[in-house]
Symmetry: C2
């Protein structure tokens, strides 16, 4: 087939069929997809979790990852955040004319490998072509099984809970920004599926789990503090940040607390279980740099309800809000 | 908030939260969405159907429909094509900077109304912003429940089956094309959720159901003939086409058999049940123009296996293939 996508590949006719066959079927082949029905029929469960995420990252390929790997990780990690066992993924491609067919093949292969790592099956797909200049956008939607009545939720953080982050902050964001600015360094994206970490801590009494993505840890924790109506305090000195990322942030005037990851979780659970949970996380794949970074307290006043505070290295408390303004768009 | 989308709305910070709150939460409000978790927890079933579809139609608003209504109908109809009961929808928006916030609100309202008509719940959403000039793209992914062991499949058409189409061909395609060419006429899109039609014919022994979309009826039937390895014969004289669409096609040199619909099904079932099924379809919402248009026969030779033929008005048989070349892209 052509080496470049044209509008013809979006017609629904023979060119579309060729694109799907050569790029997607060959990468994703499994028994369910090969039926080529309008909808896939799969085994269900009494309770399921559903999540959707679109990926518009530029560039498509970055150090240690690509939009394909990212699109599987993001959706898998959202299902894990609810305590679900990720099972099925659908993928919807929107491709601009001018996109390289070889790039699409690489992306599809990366999705297939990441799906295998995360233990999920790609069960349905769709491809559309739009005018443009070679961009690729991917929606992935996931279904997971919920197997018990545990309520892991943004609203469940309780006073006396510890806050754990499963690894270094800001890696994905710093890697993307370095790429876009053509800065040469060794910073790698952390995009990864976190099944192993979550499976290692299912035995603990987890109150809240949240994937740390756009907006960074501060935005995520602020949202959790608000949903739980508690006061969160984190310690600047305890935040795990890779030295290369720290240096890069220093030069750029960026705060790792507001930089996105794609392979980190915030875990909130009773302080009594925190050390054991930390140990389990550190023994998991992608969990080696996990740290206990703060705690949940009872708000002392109405103003403190839903507040997020960080204790600075000189001992003061600063109040943190969600990310304001631009951030770096299109990191996922 | 601003009247126009900017890159800031894609940062994951406060501008994103404002966009989601003002545009999507207010239109889609339901108990599951309002939890604002990374994943929705919902009731499942032992067997489920899953499908995904992205919508990139231009213009966003067209006679009798819009991208929002279309995005719900397309996914609902794909689930129905498998015999499933549509239950849950996720929606992923990719919005170009410059898009109108008022348009987004209208689209979200239309999705909400169409979801109510189709009996599905919008359970999860995502919004991303990209550079561009005001385009809006929507992915919807659907989950339906499969409640029996019936195998409705593209591969199940059998010799002696009748082929029914549930209404006029080409309406959506002709409406879109008229819009883009700024031709004034009364042609309306047929975008509609087909739950009522499918619910009316569940009592029959349906072998194959297929939503007639991109590529038109000929492309769809050719794919079904190939999947079933049978010979399909349709009668040109029996094809239901609105007179306005027929005139428009005549002037433009277009064949309604290759023009997309967004509210029509091809139904294949034993000829003995066809008349009763047709009656039921005609009594259903959106089914008034349904017609029996052809039959499935045993292929007389290897060449005829998977073949689609139409009997012309002068009695000859022409062999039809899937849509070749361009068609009209971006009709859905």
């Amino acid at each position: 087939m052509n080496k470049t996508i044209t509008m013809q590949h979006g017609s629904g006719g023979s060119a579309t069929a060729e694109l799907i066959h050569e790029v997607f079927e060959s990468a994703f082949s499994n028994e369910i997809l090969s039926q080529m029905e309008d909808a896939a029929a799969v085994d269900g469960a009494a309770k399921i979790a559903m999540t959707t995420d679109s990926f518009v990252v530029t560039p498509l390929f970055f150090p240690n990852g690509d939009i394909g790997r990212l699109s599987i990780c993001g959706t898998v990690n959202d299902l894990l955040s609810r305590g679900a066992y990720p099972k099925y993924i659908t993928c919807g491609f929107i491709v601009e004319e001018g996109a390289s067919v070889d790039d699409l093949k690489k992306i599809a292969r990366s999705m297939s490998e990441t799906a295998a790592e995360a233990g999920v099956q790609i069960v349905a797909g769709d491809t559309k072509v739009i005018e443009g200049s070679g961009g690729v956008y991917i929606n992935t939607t996931g279904v997971g099984f919920l197997t018990d009545d545990r309520d892991i939720s943004a609203a469940n953080a309780r006073p006396g809970d510890a806050i754990i982050v499963t690894g270094n902050l800001g890696d994905h964001h710093a890697a993307l920004l370095s790429c876009r600015m053509e800065v040469e360094n060794d910073i790698q994206s952390d995009n990864a599926p976190l099944n192993d970490i979550v499976d290692h801590i299912r035995k603990f009494n987890i109150h809240t789990l949240r994937d740390v993505t756009r907006g960074g840890l501060a935005t995520v924790l602020k949202e959790l503090a608000e949903a739980s109506r508690q006061k969160f305090i984190i310690e600047d000195a305890l935040l795990p940040v890779d030295s290369g990322v720290r240096d890069f942030c220093g030069i750029m005037g960026l705060d790792p607390l507001y930089m996105g990851n794609e392979g980190k979780m915030a875990v909130i659970l009773p302080e009594a279980e925190a050390k054991e949970a930390l140990k389990s996380i550190k023994e998991s794949r992608y969990g080696e740099n996990a740290a206990i970074i703060g705690r949940v307290e009872s708000p002392g006043s109405v103003e403190e309800e839903g507040g997020l505070y960080s204790r600075t290295n000189i001992g003061g408390l600063r109040s943190l809000s969600v990310l304001m303004g631009e951030g770096l768009p299109r990191i996922c």
